[in-house]
Amino acid sequence: MASVEIQNVRKAYGDFETIKGVSVEVPDGAFVVLVGPSGCGKSTLLRMIAGLEEISGGTIRIDGRIINDVEPKNRDIAMVFQNYALYPHMTIAENMGFSLRLAKKSKEEIAERVNDAARILGLTDYLGRYPKMLSGGQRQRVAMGRAIVRNPKVFLFDEPLSNLDAKLRVQMRAELKDIHARIKTTTVYVTHDQIEAMTMADRIVVMRDGIVEQVGAPLDLYDRPVNTFVASFIGSPSMNFITGKLGEDLTSVTTENGVRMPLGKHASATPGSEVTYGIRPEHLAIGQAGEGIPVTVTNIEPTGSETFVQGTVDGQKISALLRERLFIKTGEILNLAFLPTNGHVFDTASGIRID
């Protein structure tokens, strides 16, 4: 096990910079998820940790040692690829034992370590098969097994679940978390799926356009996003944003036509300034007459367990995730109430949180 320290790391292709000075600390034994939209540089950063991409600037340390110029094989890391990258001509056992074979370990040791990893991953019955004889989930486990047998200091995962169907993804998510809890190897995991990030991470690093937007525990990011980008990226469905003016008392936001939305705390901006009020769809509930904000319903999507309602408030789009079954039609007005403490406020121009 080891810590990973990324300090002011840059990656440039000619004049074009894809990673613009990223600093992240991954404590020993932690499960850190790099999350962000496509092209934000998360995979490039992971590949730089692995040694598959050169580092244009800054330093990466594993266990205190700078590894910028260290060969990938000497970094003591293991990586699981998005497409699994299993050797098609080798059996599962050969795939898992390949690194040990290259390291000239004895046949007995290879067999023992492969069997141990196979037991952890439930692959014992498949060791003699070839990758193409396995399902997506099983291949994913083999890729994990190949990493586990090496007992590396750091695990790197590059969107490992994105080729699986939704049901299997949920199952593998739990399995990965369970394996990490058992072997406790420092893990850096890349995904574009914020639900994966929220459910698996000890700490999430949100990236956009080659910079880190916010680092924190999943619920910290959910509860106190530092800007509108993080607020919209973390949480599903995405947070609602309604623009308006900050009230005189700094504890409410009022839209152009006078819809007032209260805040649980004081905003640090001048009264009357243009702000964006944020409220998550799941924090909205059906209010009594005259309570909450009036929403004109434009679309209703019942899923059985909950109802997803889309509408407008003062001409601005809003959505709500309600537990109740609703018997309303589009065009009707629905009063949606919420706790002021669940409201967020951001500066409209910069998008930065101001409460």
């Binding site: 094989k73 293991a78 990258a85 050797y87 290259l102 090496r150």
Partner: protein, 295 residues
């Protein structure tokens, strides 16, 4: 109805090509099979059916057996030299594709494949020339005794193998390059992280994963090896300068029998033997390919 119309249109569209193919490819093969059972001197109207007599005679014909042995040695020699060299050269070119010289390397290797056989063989004849050739000059420079490359029975076969491999190499490299370009990069990255060096990746990943390409290239190389003619004809003359005598090959033997000795039926039976050998080798190689595919 529409399907039927489209089928008729498709058949009509390919009919001209099919007709030409049948006339220049299938008919000669069928006629060769037929002729091999007859005795015919090309001119006579009299063409008696003699059954398998031609084949029986072949088994005792030392010129034919010599040619068969030489051709087999050359074909397998070319195979043994071409495949590993093509694999290594393709790997080197592939891993240097970012260099400015990549196009030059590819062209340089491929040119021999498209150069006309006879001029190329003439150039090699000069290289191997015992008195004036640069090869012997080089040997002499290093104090190694000079060799009579094209007159020694063993060395002349080796010379033909070298020439044929030089010509076959370009095509094999080209096909291997396509194979290399289709191998997933992530596997090499995974191997790198698993601790494999470039050579180990080549040995443990490239070679096994390119097996289908190797089998295909082997079939093509072997078939063209069995058809060797011009190289032997130009390169290997006997002591009196008669072309093709030093290393007798099957195609030459066939030509002599049909157009010098006017024994067309007999030559056809040789062609049938060559066809059977090539077909058998191709079937063996393709069955190996299929077995691999099942794994």
């Amino acid at each position: 109805m529409l399907k039927r119309k489209r089928f008729i249109f498709a058949m009509l569209a390919i009919l001209p090509t099919l007709a030409i193919f049948a006339y220049v490819r299938l008919y000669p093969i069928a006629d060769t099979l037929r002729l091999s059972l007859y005795q015919w001197n090309i001119l006579s109207k009299n063409k008696p059916f003699i059954g398998l007599a031609n084949f029986r005679e072949l088994m005792g014909d030392h010129l034919f057996l010599d040619a068969l042995i030489n051709t087999t040695i050359i074909a397998f020699g070319v195979l043994a030299l071409t495949i590993p060299m093509a694999l290594v050269i393709a790997a080197l070119i592939f891993h240097r594709t970012r260099s400015r010289m990549a196009g030059f390397y590819e062209t340089a290797v491929f040119i021999p494949h498209v150069v006309s056989l006879v001029p190329a063989a003439m150039a090699w004849k000069w290289i191997f020339d015992a008195r004036l050739g640069p090869l012997n000059a080089l040997l002499d420079f290093f104090g190694i005794p000079m060799q009579s490359w094209l007159f020694d029975p063993v060395l002349s076969v080796i010379c033909i193998i070298v020439l044929c491999s030089w010509q076959a190499l370009g095509y094999a490299v080209l096909i291997y390059l396509v194979g290399f370009k289709n191998l997933p990069v992530s596997l090499y990255e995974a191997a790198k992280l698993d601790g494999a060096s470039g050579r180990q990746s080549f040995w443990h990943l490239s070679i096994p994963m390119l097996k289908p390409i190797t089998l295909y290239v082997s079939v093509v190389t072997l078939v063209s090896g069995f058809n060797v003619y011009a190289q032997a004809f130009v390169l290997a003359s006997d002591a009196q300068g008669a072309p093709g005598r030093q290393v007798r090959v099957l195609v030459l033997d066939m030509l002599e029998n049909s157009f010098r000795n006017y024994r067309v039926g007999y030559a056809a039976s040789e062609a049938v033997v060559l066809l059977v050998i090539v077909l058998a080798l191709t079937l063996i190689q393709f069955s190996m390919l299929r077995e691999k595919g099942k794994a």
